[in-house]
């Protein structure tokens, strides 16, 4: 700051900044502006006292109001819970089939089921319940253990081949190849026969030979016509949906050394209301019976 320059027009001193002849006046700020600034400082001090502010080694100062965003979340969750309670109580008391007849309750249950599905089921069945190799697609109309509300609820509650649950759904296809029950040639023949059952390309001679093998070894569970049996979880061999693949090689592999999936029993982990909601959600995916 050396020479003070006074602007001749306004009589106000300039800041000394000069841009191509345009000079900035050093006009004093209104004093209330300064007060406003001080007020914000006072506000900030009060805020620091009232709310958590100063970081310490283990956390921060608590503030006089005792506010915490965590507690606020907990409060909001509790509020949401209490808002849901009305529906959840109804779901707890009603049979699943009746819930479906009440549109508002049904919408609530399906939404709740979708949320529970995202937490517990997507790891195997996929986020869209579309399944994957070895994990069933829950959107389609092909059910290993049945697609009625009761069947779905039972499967969720007790699981499949889940040893910790006495009532779990159990079945085991013999390992026809690994245990030398069938010769490799017979396995190839019966695979051709299965291809014929499902309307795919097959070798006529092999299928003809395989027909007898099928009748002796497979028809007991999969049915004489190949329609499967839900009592034993035996898949339908005529339809277009294949759990472990529909090529001759994949079918032969499954006959020789079958894979078996395991689903946990959720009755031990989830409450009854959640299972009812999951049941309705899975049933609503388009394949429910």
């Amino acid at each position: 700051m050396s020479d003070q320059e006074i602007d001749p027009v306004s009589g106000t001193e300039t800041t000394g900044h000069d841009w191509d002849g345009i000079k900035e006046l050093n006009t004093p700020l209104p004093r209330w502006w300064l007060w406003t600034f001080y007020a914000t400082i006072i506000w900030a001090l009060g805020y620091m006292i009232a709310y958590p502010a100063i970081p310490l080694i283990n956390g921060a100062t608590k503030g006089l109001l005792g506010y915490s965003s965590r507690a606020e979340v907990a409060r909001e969750i509790a509020l949401a819970r209490s808002a849901q309670a009305r529906f959840l109580d109804q779901i707890a008391q009603m049979p699943v089939a009746d819930i479906r007849k009440n549109p508002a309750l049904f919408d609530f249950a399906v939404a709740g089921g979708a949320a529970a599905f995202k937490v517990n089921c997507v790891q195997c069945h996929g986020s869209g319940a579309q399944g994957g190799p070895g994990y069933p697609n829950l959107n389609d109309d092909d059910w290993l253990w049945g697609g009625t509300l009761e069947d779905i609820a039972y499967t969720i509650r007790h699981g499949v081949r889940f040893s910790d649950d006495e009532d779990t759904r159990v079945s085991e296809m013999p390992a026809f190849g690994a245990d030398d029950m069938l010769a490799p040639a017979q396995i190839a023949d019966v695979a051709d026969y299965v291809l014929r059952l499902s309307g795919q390309k097959f070798d006529a001679a092999g299928a003809a030979r395989g027909q007898d093998v099928y009748a002796e070894n497979c028809a007991a569970c999969h049915g004489a016509a190949g329609g499967g049996n839900r009592e034993t979880g035996s898949p339908d061999l005529k339809d277009a949906i294949w759990f472990y693949g529909n090529t001759k090689r994949q079918i032969m592999a499954q006959i020789a050394r079958p894979k078996h999936g395991v689903m946990p029993a959720w009755g031990h982990r989830l409450d009854d209301t959640t299972i009812k909601q999951l049941t309705l959600y899975v049933h609503s995916l388009g394949g429910g019976e």
Binding site: F106, Q130, N137, G286
Partner: protein, 516 residues
């Protein structure tokens, strides 16, 4: 440091600070006339507001301002109480911003959130309207209809009513505290606070059913947000109109800065016609006529005394001037009394002013409005307005939105057919319940089912929608194996009103695995 040198005794000392006194110094010692530029007396980073006591004035612009104040305040206070029958399923308040239900009602118009572009259009119209007004009649918005101006005017009227006109107010302000001063001040602030409370109170009625809200406000069971909004608006009204006044315009409002870019030489601005006013006469006298070489301005300072912004219009156009034209009224009255033509201070364009300076008599007329810029603004403004009216009248009150399931995109069923899932949203934007037929067109052999329903699959389903509500439903569309010719097949969802003629169409796609 600015140092002014002067030799002692060689001339008048230009500055003598109080208390410094004359110092006897030896004749041979130079006397330095210096002033510390950063002396405490000069250190002024912040200035206190100087109180302004505008004097009462009467005249045509004052009358106009009273009218504008009455009309704008009436619109503000009365609007939420107007009723408009929309039937049993919609509120009957003519103007209502229903934030909870996300609806905006304006008489016969109802706006849904996705139609917010109408509000954007209104704001653009308001902006262009402000450009149009400013380029023609200058800061008329500031001077007449800005809420800050209207409320300050109202607060000033109250102040004048209780404390008297300019001189009485200055006297009262300077007077020591006495019973009368306390009484007047209390009365003034009480009335101000009541006005402020009514201002804040009226605002919230735009956001809820006004009669019901008033009842619950009085019964103290209205929502907290209602009380806090009233409190905040009461405080801002009281502070802005009672204390801040011209400071809001000068320091807080961006418009005085923007107007510098909007005004041109054909815009009307309040102008002191110095070509006929200068040089000023010392005082109005009974000399029977003005001496040669004297102007019409008698330097009575009335124009300064009436100015609510505390400026002297005779200094020329300035940022603070809100063009309220009260100085015109004051000066016209004085000109009438001194027998001079009115209009020493007048609305004039810079072009006419310059012509007058050159000696060409150029009265400002409506012709200053006729220029390309005005027409462009007006054309734009009118075009947007007409387009909005057209779209408002032609818009559909039924809409359909469809979300295709993404995961999975399609499902293969046991018989080999392909199923796609869609969430269909039907927007019933009228205030009555309606039934619609949702159908799938352009997809041969397609059947549709509603999720969670036991209806037989078909090409169409019947959907009912609540009044003024969105109805969402999940549907599955199934196409038999072999009916599909491509991986992606376009088709349409059509929703049509049963017992009406409204329909809406959505172009959807049906996805399938690779067709071998």
């Amino acid at each position: 440091m600015c140092i002014r040198w002067a030799v002692a005794n060689s001339g008048p000392v230009r500055r003598r600070r109080p208390g410094s006194g004359m110092v006897t110094i030896h004749n041979s010692v130079e006397r330095v006339d210096v002033e510390a530029v950063n002396s405490k007396a000069r250190r002024k980073n912040y200035v206190a507001r100087v109180k302004i006591f505008p004097r009462r004035v009467a005249g045509r612009f004052r009358s106009l301002k009273w009218w504008v104040m009455g009309i704008t305040l009436a619109i503000y206070y009365v609007t939420p109480w107007l009723r408009w029958d929309r039937g049993p399923f919609a509120p009957d308040q003519a103007v209502l911003v229903d934030l909870a239900n996300r609806r905006f009602y304006f008489f016969f118009i109802e706006i849904w959130p996705q139609e917010f572009y109408y509000i954007a259009g209104l704001l653009i119209m308001a902006g262009i309207g402000l450009f149009l007004v400013t380029s023609t009649v200058g800061r008329a918005w500031c001077g007449y209809s800005c809420p800050q101006t209207v409320w300050v005017d109202l607060f000033l009227a109250v102040e004048r009513w209780i404390e008297g006109d300019r001189n009485a107010r200055i006297k009262l302000d300077k007077a020591a505290w006495s019973g009368e001063k306390i009484r007047k001040r209390l009365a003034k602030h009480a009335v101000w606070l009541v006005i402020a409370l009514l201002t804040g109170g009226a605002w919230i009625f735009y956001f809820a059913d006004a009669p019901a809200l008033l009842r619950s406000l009085v019964a103290f069971d209205a929502p907290l947000v209602a009380y806090s909004t009233v409190a905040i608006l009461t405080a801002t009204t009281y502070v802005f109109a009672g204390f801040m006044r011209e400071q809001v315009c000068t320091y807080m409002c961006p418009w005085p800065r923007i107007q510098a870019a909007m005004l041109d030489e054909d815009s009307l601005v309040v102008t002191y016609n110095d070509w006929r006013g200068e040089p000023r006469r010392g005082a109005p006298g009974g000399d029977g006529g003005r001496p040669a070489g004297q102007g019409d301005c008698i330097d009575c300072n009335l124009c300064v005394a009436v100015c609510p912004m505390g400026i002297d219009i005779r200094d020329g156009q300035q940022l603070e001037c809100i063009t309220c034209a009260l100085c015109i009224d004051a000066c016209d009255a004085v000109m009438a009394r001194t027998g001079k033509p009115k209009g020493l201070i007048s609305y004039a364009t810079l072009r006419d002013y310059n012509a007058n300076i050159q000696g060409v008599r150029a009265p400002t007329t409506w012709r200053s409005f006729v220029r390309p810029r005005t027409f462009v603004y007006f054309g734009l403004w009118a075009a947007i307005g007409l387009a909005m009216i057209y779209f408002l009248l032609a818009r559909d009150r039924l809409d359909i939105n469809v979300l295709h399931d993404r995961n999975p995109v399609f499902v293969k069923l046991s018989d080999g057919s392909i199923r796609n899932g869609y969430t269909v949203k039907i927007l019933n934007m009228v205030a009555k319940p309606r039934t619609f037929r949702l159908s799938v067109l352009g997809l041969p052999g397609a059947v549709m089912t509603r999720a969670g329903s036991d209806e037989a699959p078909g090409a169409q389903i019947t959907v009912s929608a609540a009044p003024d509500r969105l109805r969402a439903l999940k549907v599955y569309v199934k196409v038999a194996r072999g009916a599909l010719k491509a991986k992606t097949t376009p088709f349409t969802f059509t929703v049509s009103e049963i017992g009406g003629d409204e329909r809406a169409v959505y172009q959807a796609r049906f996805e399938a695995p690779e067709i071998p």
